[in-house]
Amino acid sequence: MPLGLYISVPFCRTKCSYCNFASGVFSQKVFARYVDRVCEEMRQAPGTAAVMGGHFEPAIDSIYLGGGTPTILPGEDLQRLFAAIRQQFSIAPDAEISVECAPGSLDERMLGTLARCGVNRVSLGVQSMVDGEAAAVGRQHKRATVLEDIAHLRAAGIHNINLDLIAGLPHQTPASWTISLDEVIASGVPHASVYMLEVDEDSRLGRELMAGGIRYHAHFVPNEDAIADFYVEACRRLNVAGIAQYEISNFARPGAVSRHNLKYWTRQPYLGFGVDAHSMLEASADAYTLLRAHPMRSRPGDTPGDNGGNRPCDVSQANVEAVRFSTSDSLEEFLAGAALKKMPVSWAEAREEAFFLGLRLNRGVDLRTIALRFGLPAELEDTVAHLCADGLLERAGSNIRLTDNGRLLSNEVFQRFLACDTAARM
């Protein structure tokens, strides 16, 4: 199966107050070194995959440059990255090649570079089409900038454009949110992502909200219920406009669903390079050696016998279905060649993932497919029945999917599919 490729570019011109990613403002001096290191990682990819116990595949059909702000890199560095990719991997002719861009960073030279690199999809970190809101969280652009960028991209032949919006920014109101949504629809782009503000320790705004302070306009952040309303309104308006929701945060016109994005939710293999980059590969045949090297990796549900229903449990048999691994989230450590963190995924965990990732998609998951691959214990059937009774899931034949309310409460649903859960806790 062809792989997806993710390349992280953790550099930004400024750090937005809501951002909880491993990105930051660094001196340009480090850019070339970083690209060198990423290229080196790519060259070592087959060996890395072997060490991790994953199945390597040179064929790729999606590339995603995420950030940070990939377009902050000089054109030659971007070209070096793509040259390295082409050297190591064979890119399918119809591959989806996406790059995340900050609005306003796309000058003519950059557009030329992207075209030369074969980029055919661009994701713009708009967040809000209301100028005051964007400025309050530290975005450098205005609504007009976004519209100009879209026009320039189209002129350069890139029509597959995504716009990101965040529900829950400071100063957002039902009226201003509607403006952002309508602008996105009116722009005619085929793809939109709607996120909700995440409040955690990893962003300045999150920390301020948790502390109850007023820096970063924290006291102007809409409350939970309002954000939920914004989200519901976004789903409604985008669907009506023909930009159909296909995943909790993603919406696309027909034919514009992001292939790379789908890989995450359907558990197709992908490789990530750069700081805080994540990979998942199918377990290679001799992966059981890996399990032996990590005896403490068992989770509460991983008791012998609970290896996925029908499969006979035998220690000598590989209980690893896939392997996930990631790089350090510190730029310094990454540049110094820090070791990868490996997390083998057992069959029981893989089944959990199949649910909590697959159910993110509007099309849901097929219980029969899951049962065939992993086995389906009776208590999971009960869990499904309870969730349907509570109106969080809906079932049609062997297909189950989130209801509208289930989507808003999806973490509650997903928890129920995690180990040691039974119908007893509902």
């Binding site: 995603y64 996120y195 989200y231 992908y270 998942m280 996930r324 509570d390 409460l409 509650e412 928890q415």
Partner: protein, 600 residues
């Protein structure tokens, strides 16, 4: 030893007024403990005692002191517990002495507890030596402290000793004063044995160790002794004194203090205040003042994890080996499952037990709101005692309810009197006395229902007086009161562990406050949760926790699935730490909220 050269004395002091430091200095000066061995506050052996700066168990240390008159004296320091919860134990320790040092902090003055213990000592006929400590502090006010000792305690403070236990200044004079002012014990070694049991504890290797003061006769190794209250007979295996290291001796004569080990398996057999006598030659009468210790404060103890129930039972059994003053019996709660109804001497005692269970036995506990034991006269005339809200009788079966009442003594500065009066009125207090002990120091006496004290009285008193009020109390009887059970219903189901007994006049107000507090503490669930307060089936307050609107991770970052999994697992773990009642997850804090209602 010649009784004329024995002195038995205690130290009476408020927390932090320097009792333990002074005791340490005395041990050093008499060479009982070398400076090198000196770990600060030798006598407070339990970790908890050291941390809290209070003495929970009594001790008795023998020091040999060569006085200025050239004679060597045997000084027995009987260290007493320092908290109102243990006032009976204090009274028994004082009964073992002929004198007491009244230690008062020169910058703080006399506090209520000191006062209560001083009165106890005076009533026992002890010679009291006022000692003014911490005179090295810049804020020390010796004249005012003397005035307070005279005004509040009623003692002549003109010959009070001025010391600094910290620097050692004046401490040698304390030893001389003990020799010259505390009378020697009376009694004869030849009369039938009569000894006071004033403390006991369980030692894993030696069984029960008893501290005793011999009043008459002689206690010998190999002797068959009888405990008065239960008639049990034991043979003395070991006799000794603490110096503070244990040293074995052959006999303890009238006037002396020491420990005995007699193959006693159960600490509950050795009741504090009991009389020890010779089985073959008993005395005719026991020593006065013995009381069976009764728990005053009751609460349910439950483990958060139901699987730890057995571990809790084992832990309680072990603690009880050492502390016969708390009791427990199994109880079950619809809300919390299987647990134990426990009785304690007071709130501090409860906290100590709870802390030891969590610390020494690594248990995660839920404690229900503490309450008291009511006397209920049924309509058929039968009197029953009820300490558990779940056993409360239907109002139609109740003729009369009586609640325990305490007599509280509060010492404070004039400026805080207004706030305190408001508080005691709110707590249904009745004034018994109002007295200026110095020009700006006031002593209040109030009768107060114990049930009001166990809720949040200490904290409230502390806040209205900014910490400048001290409280002491003792049980003073019962009052008839119209009490009722306040129930909390979550989603229509009564949560028994949240029920409390309240005065009817306060019921509405408390019900409303409690429902509002619950609303704050119960997190939003997948559905709307109604919280109601009810009395006898009548709903008196209602709050609603709206249904959770969203719990969604609407973000994807470069395929980091592990992070998503961790977040889900963390949320799931969080729910496990809550108690599920019906379909509602209730956090542990909610069960204690009953205590904190009305604070803000």
């Amino acid at each position: 030893m010649d009784r004329a050269r024995i002195r038995n004395f205690a130290i009476i002091a408020h927390i932090d007024h320097g009792k333990s430091t002074l005791a340490d200095r005395l041990l050093e000066l008499t060479g009982s403990v070398s400076a090198r061995e000196m770990q600060a506050q030798v006598l407070d052996a339990m970790d908890l005692e050291r941390e809290r700066g209070i003495t929970i168990k009594a001790h008795a240390v023998r020091m040999m002191y060569q006085a200025h008159d050239g004679e060597t004296y045997q000084l027995n320091l009987i260290d007493t517990p320092g908290h109102v919860d243990f006032s009976y134990e204090v009274s028994r320790s004082l009964a073992a002495c002929e004198g007491a040092l009244l230690v008062v902090d020169a910058s703080q003055g006399v506090e209520a507890q000191t006062l209560a213990n001083s009165y106890l000592a005076i009533n026992h006929g002890l010679e009291i030596i006022p000692v003014i400590n911490k005179i090295d502090l810049p804020s020390a006010d010796v004249a005012r402290t003397k005035e307070m000792i005279e005004g509040a305690v009623g003692l002549d403070a003109s010959n009070a000793l001025l010391i600094s236990a910290k620097t050692g200044e004046g401490v040698p004079e304390v030893l001389e004063a003990i020799v010259h002012r505390v009378p020697p014990p009376k009694g004869s070694p030849d009369t039938p044995l009569q000894a006071l049991l004033f403390d006991s504890w369980f030692d894993a290797y030696r069984g029960v160790v008893v501290l005793a003061r011999v009043f008459h006769g002689t206690l010998r190794k190999g002797q068959k002794i009888r405990l008065w209250s239960n008639g049990r007979v034991f043979e003395v295996e070991t006799l000794g004194v603490l110096t503070p290291k244990p040293v074995e001796i052959e006999m303890l004569e009238a006037g002396e203090v020491g420990f005995l080990i007699a193959n006693i398996k159960n600490v509950a057999d050795t009741k504090i205040g009991d009389t020890i006598t010779d089985d073959s030659r008993p005395v005719i009468e026991p020593l006065p003042g013995f009381e069976e210790i009764k728990p005053m404060v009751f609460a349910g103890l439950y483990t958060v994890d139901a699987h730890e129930h057995t571990a809790l039972r084992e832990a309680l059994d072990k603690l009880r080996l050492n502390d016969s003053s708390f009791f427990f019996e199994p109880e079950s709660s619809v809300a919390l499952g299987f647990g134990f109804r426990c009785g304690f001497l007071g709130l501090l005692h409860m906290e100590i037990i709870q802390e030891r269970l969590e610390r020494e036995f690594n248990l995660d506990l839920i404690t229900t709101a503490p309450g008291v034991r009511y006397k209920i006269t049924r309509t058929d005339g039968e009197v029953v005692e009820v300490d558990n809200p779940s056993r409360w009788l239907p109002q139609s079966e109740i003729r009369k309810i009586e609640e325990p009442v305490i007599l509280a003594t509060i010492l404070t500065n004039e400026e805080y009197v207004g706030g305190i009066l408001k508080l005691v009125e709110e707590k249904r207090g009745r004034q018994k006395g109002f007295e200026y002990v110095t020009s700006n120091r006031v002593m209040l006496s109030y009768e107060l229902p114990l049930n009001e004290i166990v809720l949040d009285f200490y904290d409230r008193l502390k806040s209205v007086s900014r910490g400048y009020a001290s409280l002491d109390y003792h049980l003073a009887g019962y009052w008839e009161s119209p009490m009722a059970r306040l129930d909390i219903l979550v989603s229509g189901d009564p949560v028994d562990a949240l029920s409390t007994i309240v005065h009817q006049e306060h019921a509405y107000e408390r019900g409303r406050a409690l429902a509002a507090k619950m609303k704050q503490l119960i997190p939003r669930q997948m559905f709307e949760v109604a919280i109601q307060a009810a009395i006898g089936g009548k709903i008196i307050a209602r709050e609603t926790v709206p249904a959770m609107r969203k719990n969604v991770l609407a973000k994807c970052y470069g395929g980091d699935i592990t992070r998503k999994r961790k977040l889900l697992e963390k949320q799931k773990e969080g729910k496990k730490r809550m108690k599920r009642i019906g379909r509602v997850d209730i956090p542990q804090e909610a069960f204690l909220a009953v205590l904190r209602v009305g604070e803000e």
